[in-house]
């Protein structure tokens, strides 16, 4: 220690209150909900269109997202892209088991044009045969590359193990299923499912909210069609059992994944569980990171997160660890879960996690893109931005006892579903010394 004076850590200034920006909302005659939020920081506007898309044929859904912007009666794919570029914009489509999402941004002066093009795609996507064929091959290649990634393989195995026969169990189609998709099937799926009813359009940026709603109404009121509703069954409860070991011979790391029960954002336990998760492994200053990275050097980036989907929530913890320390890393993970589930956290640990949770709410709202994604994710789950204020109040009010209670209820290692992907020949025996192991090939 070379310091000659000990300098005290400066105190924090007073907390700034969370203020939710100005917004407006309108439900159009066709059932589309439009939410516009003002954040004038840069002369841009962010667009998110969330369409409910549960229980869709996996390969057709993936191909629909891949080719939705591939042309209309009026414009080819190249022309659509060029027209969007002219206003500094771009659109992309993505799919998950809950929704189809169109996302983009443009110069704010291009909002009307971007909405026009969005409407043109929604009402007139034509799925031209040559484009579909090209994109089919590309998607197959992308899936093949994904299937060579350990993180993808571990996630696939975990989802299958958690969800069993639920639609969430398989989220990536097989190449053969993709190869079988024809343009006619995409046109049919579009006609059946790409509808305004239940969809939410979010616009965030340098806009006057009412004016943005008018622009959206002018562009999208003609989007018609009855929503085919596909309710997802609730996700099944986790069923703990033997550790699932997936063999990936030659791996120089093992991918460790644990799933634990969690609750939706509106559940009374949610805020306390979010804090418990932070204390366990949800941020860098967590027990798990300090233990297996900063103390033992087993891993680079361990992380745990509560994932919210429409049909249920789950807490997932993941780490890529050196092959030779796979079992010790699992041991430390169970130790940290067990310790949090049985011993209340220290008050200063809770305060630190609380400040982080409250601070990152402010940070998440401080850009147009962050605000748009947050607004859209909330809206997809039936919430509005004012929920942030309620949630912040719950985070502020959670006590050590509250957090200890939810930790015992949700984070106990006995509840965990565990998957390890790695070189089974090198890790199976030591894992079996900790817990029963069920082995499968990748």
């Amino acid at each position: 220690m070379t310091a000659t004076t000990v300098r005290p850590l400066p105190a924090l200034g007073p907390n700034r209150r969370l203020t939710v920006p100005k917004q407006a909302e309108r439900t159009l005659g066709n059932g589309l909900t439009v939410i516009a939020v003002r954040r004038p920081a840069v002369p841009l506007v962010e667009v998110r269109l969330w369409m409910p898309f549960g229980r869709t044929h996996l390969a057709r859904g993936a191909m629909l997202a891949q080719t939705m912007l591939a042309g209309t009666e009026a414009h080819s794919a190249t022309e659509i892209a060029a027209e969007l570029q002219k206003v500094g914009g771009g659109l992309s489509a993505g799919l998950d088991p809950d929704r189809l999402m169109l996302s983009g941004a443009s110069l704010v002066t291009g909002l009307d044009r971007m909405l026009e093009l969005l409407a043109e795609v929604l009402t007139g996507a034509s799925y031209p045969g040559d484009w579909v064929a090209t994109e089919r091959d590309r998607l197959v290649d992308h899936i093949q590359v994904a299937q060579s990634q350990p993180s993808h393989l571990a996630r696939t195995a975990l989802l299958k193990r958690i969800y069993g026969r639920h639609p969430y169990a398989v989220q990536t189609p097989e190449p053969d299923q993709v190869r079988a998709v024809r343009p006619a099937a995409l046109r049919k799926l579009h006609a059946e499912r790409v509808h305004p009813a239940g969809a939410v359009l979010v616009l965030v940026g340098d806009v006057r909210p009412e004016r943005a709603l008018d622009a959206a109404e002018a562009a999208l009121a003609g989007w018609r069609g009855d929503g085919h509703v596909a309710e997802l069954p609730p996700a099944p409860p986790l069923e703990p059992g033997p550790l699932l070991l997936i063999d990936r011979p030659g791996s120089v790391q093992s991918s460790l994944r644990l799933a634990l029960p969690a609750v939706p954002r509106t559940h009374p336990d949610h805020a306390a569980l979010q804090l418990a998760n932070l204390i366990f492994g949800g941020y860098f200053s967590s027990r798990w990171v300090e233990n297996i990275r900063e103390d033992k050097g087993y891993t680079y980036g361990p992380h745990s997160l509560v994932e919210h989907s429409v049909a249920g929530s789950v807490l997932v913890a993941g780490a890529e660890v050196a092959t030779e320390v796979t079992a010790p890393a699992l041991l430390e993970t169970s130790y940290e879960l067990g310790r949090l589930a049985t011993v209340p956290p220290k008050p200063d640990e809770l305060e630190q996690a609380r400040q982080y949770a409250l601070g990152t709410l402010q940070l998440g709202m401080s850009t147009q893109a962050g605000l748009a994604s947050l607004t859209s994710a909330y809206a997809g789950n039936g919430l509005r931005l004012d929920f942030l204020t309620e949630h912040a109040a719950r985070l502020a009010a959670a006590t050590v006892d509250d957090v200890a209670e939810v930790a015992a209820r949700y984070l106990a290692p006995a509840h965990a579903v565990t998957v390890v992907l790695g070189d089974a020949a090198r890790i199976a025996d030591s894992l079996a010394a900790l817990t029963p192991v069920h082995r499968e090939d990748a």
Partner: protein
Amino acid sequence: MPTRRARIPATKYPVERFALDNGLRVVLTPDRSAPVIGVAVVYDVGIRSEPEGRTGFAHLFEHLMFQGSENLEKLAHFRHVQGAGGTFNGSTHLDYTDYFETLPSNALERALFLEADRMRGPRLTEENLRNQVDVVKEEIRVNVLNRPYGGFPWLTLPPVMFDTFPNAHDGYGSFDDLESATVADAADFFRRYYASGNAVLAVSGDIDVAEATALIERHFGDVPARPAPERPDFTEPDLTTERRSTYTDALAPLPAVAGAWRVPDPVTDFAGYLPYVVLAEVLTDGDASRLVERLVQRDRTVTGVGGYLGFMGDPFDVRDPTALLLQAHLPPGGDVDKVLRTVDEELDRLATDGLVEGELARTQARMATHLLRDTDAVLGRALRMAVLEQQRGEPGLLNDLPRLVGAVTEDQVRAAAATLRPERRASVEVVAGGAQ
């Protein structure tokens, strides 16, 4: 031919610059529209400056800067930033290393204290060094060794294109070099490169300039003065004959290729450099771009193609020598030679026939959006301004970039394309070893 173009908007972020007596340069850019701040400290040392036999050292040292400092125990930095509601990180580039936080604005003084404390002196202990060597090895495994296309092309193309150690070596480092690093090496590296005179501090967002200035003087004012070391000349001659290299990636299921050409000095010849930044986007930005249209859609010889300046995709944060890169992934059995030939053909066509009506303007409009979007985040602003100050003494250039990009002419883009000749090209091919 003048074409009607979308008006390129600009930002007007205010910029205050000053230097402390110890040589630390400071950039402040206030914006009170949200109660958050970005704090960045950038040191003028990167991968190119690490000594021979010490590959990966600049990055390893970045890890050590988080392991405690004069008044802070190990782990304290993380806890104090996150316990104030903020997030942090650091990253190592070819020409600089940055450390940064985004925080609610009530944590300004705390962030300044934390950065000043490690600028005075990190705690360089044997235990922390061994621990972070292990962590970095796991980082390399997860990003390079255990995944397909690991390090492609940023680690695998430079050794084809360049001949000298600073430009050609593996910036992540070999395990041998990492394991043999010592505390004395780290102390020496710190003394040499982490001088107050070799650093820039930038603070953006919800600050009052007078108050922030006073706080910066209070916390950084007594950091002992040390001058910046002289930066060596990393120049290398341009290629005059084509260079090709091939390697098998045991995990990759499909082939891939990347090619690169040297470009003008980004700092001393910015006007000559900018057309290449625009050219990369004309070639690859989206479905309406040249190479996507030709290679992906028409020929179907690639499944994806990207183009950018700087090996780490940092067009405005890199010094000479650097390059324009194109990279593509191919379908099963894809023919890399054919892809490179087609690229040459398209570059020729662009140089000879020029751009089509509106092609340049729309590309520039989209580039402006990307630049504006990046600066919307307070941290994006602080980091960019810090590096612009360090490398050019011109942080306010950030406000001008959309306009300058918009002012690049068709003739300039054509001329840039004309220089990307096969004989000046270095390329690296990934042979799929993981085909199923």
